[in-house]
Amino acid sequence: MDRRNALGGMLALFGAQVFAPLARAAGLAAPPVIDQGVPRLQVFTPDQRALMTVLCERVIPTTDTPGAIAAGVPAYVEKLLADWALAEDRRPILSGLAEIDSRSWQDYKVPAVQAKPEQQDALLTLAMNDQIPDGEEFFKAFRQMVIVGYYTSEIGMTQEREYLPVPGEYNGAFPYSQVNKVYSA
């Protein structure tokens, strides 16, 4: 019997009227709400954050629609890694940023954040092709976070895609020629 169960068993004698700190200790507290405030943990140093931000934009750049930065993707990535993802999920991101930066010094003699966009693309491509240490692990995770963050953002759902909150009807043979943008679910 672990400590939580032992305490829980005793507290059951008192019904649910228990002193709040005891209740928390016994796991009787209310279900947690999902924290949406500022990240509780600082995942990135300012330099790492700056690099992460420009790389988000390289994954989904501004074209005829806004890119990842305008869509708030960097803040989403940081919040996700700080509070919503498991701690072990931070490591490949942080080490990937460090490897990209190190490779940038080697190839371009500047930190990656100051490299030209095409140089940053070249660095991301090296990561994608696993040509820097643990590059593929970084790239897959980072790319996925950026894509999810972008296409669930207001810009991603309503500008890059078309949002249909209430379709109201179903047409199972709707002409594709009439689709202007992909529908966001």
Binding site: G15, A16, I34, R58, W84, T152, S184
Partner: protein, 560 residues
């Protein structure tokens, strides 16, 4: 300890069957107290995230891994998300046990309305053969009722709740009182024609759903708006839920008292009169215990919630429930076996796409062992639920080219998953752990439930036949997958207090009425003696309406 005699009937649980019990009892003139362990969720007002896009839902409506692992490690198997988190049980606060090698996912709701807020909404009648299966196979207990006993009650509940579907005239899957079906899309129609001609006798039909395709203005409910956000709560009332359908009806009588946050621990019993004399519950907010009394009690706390309450209703110092004279209480627990999926690409028709998001698409009804045992190495059968759809392309790489690539749709894909019937086994059982109690002092449930050879062979067949059907229909890149089969995962758990004619071998009689207490009715999934392979909720509704009719007649006649 407060007691009261203000009520004629107590309904324990406000989910799919409890809501029906409250509606029927109040409409027949009884003053009803409905208790639910969950917190209150009012229709519309408490659907916090109804109609909200992902960017207005916490964590973009993707369950944070941290919260999933700490508090929703079981609910994750029941599709919990930030937008519906309030409807799901917190697994950290409400633990249970299972035996070595008997992993069970007990996926529970946490709010008034129960699983009616989180269910899949597929609605099927059982067939005559389903009720005869145990007798035919000599497995499990014989059903004391048949299809004809239930048919009028199916009609009664279907007309009220609104079920969409297509009339097919299949004796192994009787038609309901249907509203028009959710239409098939062009790719599904193509596939239906090819599949049915390649496999005479097999059918691909429209989904049968409690999502309405016609308005019910008299119930203040609109037809489905094709949003496919049912799990957030539907302010249109387009699908059956307690909140949208049975609770308003019961409240309209002026005879319903609803108490949320009321955790029932046990039923008090008088062995002399063989009647339930009280319902004890704990107010989850204050910790105070209360006992309430009424002439008749409907236990609708969910299949295993009801069994837990029954098992915990014991004389002082006794381990035997008042309601377990037969020794079968807690036994013959079943769930549909699933997690076999098949998928493939449908060629062509790329000039068409879907507009609108259906809540369900197509069904392939059972085609194995229909009418006779086909000597397939397993008994009973399975059906598939699935559909055809197009998704945005998934280009590789990154940058402007990828972004542009994601502006197109891929071709049509099709996928479907099997739900198979599990046989009733005496030693698939739940019990109370005498050494561990939850925060309300209720002994923890312990599960010793496993799937057996029959279920595994059935799933192997479902995988093989699924692939064959997709290939024969002309699909490309056909693949199948099998994930771990865990009882409870289908959230179709049934049994534990089965019906039967013989009080020595069953807990309930043919009226869902306890053999050991004439004023106790258990009308949720606990009463089921077998489980068919179709989704069960519609059958619970019909059985509940039927049981209430019997109970009220009995009260009037003085036989209860």
């Amino acid at each position: 300890m407060a007691t009261t005699d203000r009520f004629d009937a107590i309904v324990i649980g406000s989910g799919i069957s409890g809501g029906w019990a409250a509606k029927e009892l109040t409409e027949k003139g009884l003053r009803v107290l409905m208790l639910d362990r969950g917190h209150m969720v009012e229709h519309v007002d408490d659907y916090t995230y109804d109609g909200k896009p992902a960017y207005e839902v916490p964590a973009r409506n993707i369950m944070p891994d941290t919260l999933r692992d700490s508090d929703y490690f079981i609910a994750q198997h029941g599709y919990v998300a930030p937008s519906n988190q309030a409807f799901y049980n917190n697994d950290r606060l409400n633990p249970y046990d299972y035996g070595e090698g008997s992993k069970f996912y007990w996926i529970r709701p946490a709010a008034v309305g129960g699983k009616s807020l989180i269910w899949g909404r597929w609605s099927f009648r059982w067939s005559a053969a389903d009720f005869e299966a145990n007798k035919r196979d000599g497995i499990g207990g014989e059903w004391p009722i048949g299809y004809d006993d239930l048919a009028p009650w199916y009609s009664y509940v279907e007309k009220y709740i609104g079920v969409s579907g297509s009339r097919e005239h299949l004796d192994y899957l009787p038609d309901s009182e249907f509203q028009p079906p959710m239409p098939m899309n062009i790719a599904e129609k193509w596939m239906k024609q090819r599949l049915e001609s390649a496999f005479p006798g097999r059918k691909m039909i429209n989904a049968r759903l409690s999502n309405m395709t016609e308005d019910k203005p008299e119930q203040n409910r609109s037809k489905c708006q094709l949003r496919n956000q049912c799990g957030n709560g539907c302010s249109f009332g387009a699908y059956f839920s307690t909140q949208a359908v049975t609770l308003p009806a019961a409240r309209a009588t002026g005879r319903l008292t609803l108490r949320s946050d009321a955790v029932v621990t046990n039923l008090e019993y008088d062995p002399a009169t063989k009647k339930v004399t009280g319902v004890r519950f704990i107010d989850a907010k204050t910790g105070q215990a209360e006992v309430v009394r009424a002439k008749v009690v409907f236990l609708n706390a969910s299949t295993l919630g009801s069994v837990q309450i029954l098992m915990n209703s014991r004389a002082e110092g006794s381990e035997r429930s008042h309601f377990d004279t037969s020794g079968t209480l807690g036994r013959y627990v079943m769930d549909h076996i699933f997690r076999v999926g098949v998928k493939g690409d449908i060629p062509g028709m790329e000039e068409f796409i879907e507009y609108g998001r259906r809540p369900g698409a197509i069904y392939v009804p059972r085609f194995r062992n229909n009418g006779r045992d086909e000597d397939l190495g397993f008994r009973r059968g399975y059906g598939y639920q699935g559909g055809a759809y197009r998704e945005p392309s998934k280009p590789v790489g990154f940058g402007a080219a990828m972004k542009e690539g994601m502006r197109r749709y891929s071709g049509w894909k099709f996928q479907m998953g099997a739900f198979g019937e599990c046989l009733p086994y005496e030693d698939n059982r739940v019990s109370l752990n005498p050494n561990k109690a939850d925060r309300f002092g209720l002994p923890l449930m312990r599960f010793d439930v496993t799937f057996r050879d029959n279920e595994m062979r059935m799933m192997a067949d479902a995988r093989e036949q699924g692939e064959k059907m997709l290939r024969a229909a002309g699909l490309k890149n056909v693949e199948s997958n099998v994930k771990e089969h865990v009882p409870g995962d289908a959230i179709h758990e049934m049994g534990g207090a089965r019906m039967g004619d013989d009080p020595r071998a069953s807990v309930l009689n043919k009226w869902s009425q306890a053999h050991d207490a004439s004023n106790l009715f258990v009308t949720d999934g606990a009463q089921m003696a077998s489980i068919s392979c179709v989704n069960p909720s519609l059958t619970f509704m019909a059985l509940t309406a039927r049981a209430v009719d019997h109970a009220v007649k009995g009260l009037k006649a003085g036989t209860i």
